[in-house]
Symmetry: none
Subunit: 192 residues, 4 copies
DNA sequence: TATGAATGAGCGTTCATTCAT
DNA sequence: GATGAATGAACGCTCATTCAT
């Protein structure tokens, strides 16, 4: 009934790797450190993962899976705001924030890791850009905005604020979400 | 007329290191690769730099030096827009863009490199936040904006757009600057 | 029954290092040579010792530990020769010889290695000088002798004779001990 | 009239090498250090010496040359003490001391350097042993003494006392010579 | 399921030595 | 006679990975 002992070890390794990869980066994290944090030996590592690279992939695909759900949630959420445009857009924004903030270390790893990061980021950006284009057609979003660029900006900011303020508990997800939404939706300037 | 041969080699090494550090990160870049790109032997590297770490520092301090000038420029620029607030703010924005865009690889290295990156980023953010606070007091920037957060956002976006669009020539500095300014100054939404 | 395999390898490395350090000195001995003699790879070396320096320290402290015992032995031995002074002094002399001769390579390494060697030699010299001073007070040793210098001389000779004659089996410990005692106790000249 | 400039540089290099070899040993002394002490460049070194090894040989042969003179001096000195045996022997002893003490660093280098050191030491030992054997035949030196061993002892002590007390000026050549002679000629024990 | 022991390949660094000027 | 610049070869050390038990 209890999870097989092996499965537990595998989880410990994944947790350790996630923490360390996020803290020090993939290259700088040694297999020896991962197993030390997991309370196992180096040989045990290779019982569960073929290589250091593979445990990263495992983490990354875990993240990508959750990413799929996010997309669906976004779609569905649209239906709940018939007619009221601003709350809808704002809510989508907060959702992204909430989603990426749920797993800050995974987010950091996923978006920072060269090739893989690019692919994943592209996915998120595309999703947001798609939504934005729709909203542009509906007249909600300004015509002058390049959805591609704006989406990149949104992701970059989300990523950064999570890393800077959420990670260490300096701000809450809600505070950050509100601020980010405020900035992106209305800009920082007073209307003259 | 010809620059001392040694100085040339040093520059070649710096150029190569800059390129590679930006492309693959510090850890993943091997000294052997740097010297290969510079057309020298490994031993020659240590004629000019005490360690791989030191060439990074060299690059970093080069960047920080330019950073100082950027701050001064920002201050002076303020005087040129008496009464016209928006162009002033926008211009400042574009300047940051222009400044960081002038040396994309150095920017990437500087802001991505753990401890050092944090310090440098903090410097830039503080400078922008300072300006923003002033403009907030003057009623130019919205009261609800947290200058700290907004500045982090601005830097994050600038960094990302440079890396994504400028690096490969997909967009020009001006295009990006305009788009970013647009987003940050007025937001993406149409006024309803 | 069998000693743990790792412990065996460690011992092999220590034996090899001892031999080579004694033969060619610390600096001239390469880690590659040590492991070759031990039948291991270079990486294995660092499984047991953090650095080349550390294996030297290990050897040195092993020697110093034995050194402590030597001091005690000397003290106790004094009690066994009540009233008969010459055999007592001679025996102490032979003991030093026997002690250092038990591990010629370790002795060579220990006394030849700069800072460390100086400290260890000082220890031995001080011990002998202490004894000698006592015997001087008892009227056994000549007043004109400077115990410090005489002790340095004794150690130097012991060291050299071991290295020259014991190492290659040309003389036995007893022969050397007898000759050295003879020289130091009564000198080389006939009484005229 | 002035010595050629090249000859001066060569001398500077020899002086520097002598000092450094004595202080830190041959292996641990880098060519870069030698030239730094001599105020020259590394390339200049190879104008005068084919290799690091060669400058050592140069130093060594310089020492060996002086050694020849020492042997002759010993022989001649014998004639000046007709009938008075002890002063003669003692004087020879002091001469060795004086000779080796004249160039402590060269002495240290010469006697410490493996193969070469062995050859040179052998030469000195043989010379002393030869004299001692003569004196043994004349009844001056005890029959029981093995001249070979005694000579090794004498050289070892001389070498050590020079290194320990002369080098830093703690004792003078004369003090050391007297003490050493005292020990070796008459031993440390009181006649009971 | 897990480990203790070992390794191959490579990395950053050093150093005696060379050569064009 | 001397130098600035460069190098080949090796060294100490690290690390992801393997394998017998």
């Amino acid at each position: 009934m209890a999870a097989a002992k092996g499965e537990e070890s595998k989880k410990k390794l994944l947790k350790a790797a996630e923490k360390l990869f996020a803290e020090k980066g993939f290259q700088s994290t040694k297999v020896s450190e991962i197993v030390a944090h997991a309370g196992l030996t180096q040989a045990a590592f290779y019982l569960y993962f073929a290589s250091k690279e593979e445990i990263l992939q495992h983490l990354l695909s875990e993240f990508e899976q959750q990413l799929g759900n996010f997309g669906d949630a976004g779609k569905k959420a649209g239906d709940f705001y018939p007619g009221r445009v601003q709350p809808y857009v704002k809510d989508q924004f907060v959702q992204l924030f909430s989603f990426l903030g749920k797993n800050p270390s995974l987010t950091k790893i996923a978006l920072h890791h060269g090739k893989h990061g690019d692919r994943i980021r592209e996915k998120i950006v595309a999703q947001i850009a798609g939504n934005m284009k729709e909203n542009q057609n509906k007249g909600i979003v300004k015509k002058e905005i390049d959805p591609q660029i704006a989406s990149e900006a949104i992701v970059a900011v989300t990523e950064r604020l999570i890393d800077r303020y959420l990670w260490n508990g300096e701000k809450t997800k809600e505070e950050l979400g509100a601020q980010a939404a405020q900035i992106f939706l209305h800009g920082i300037l007073n209307e003259s």
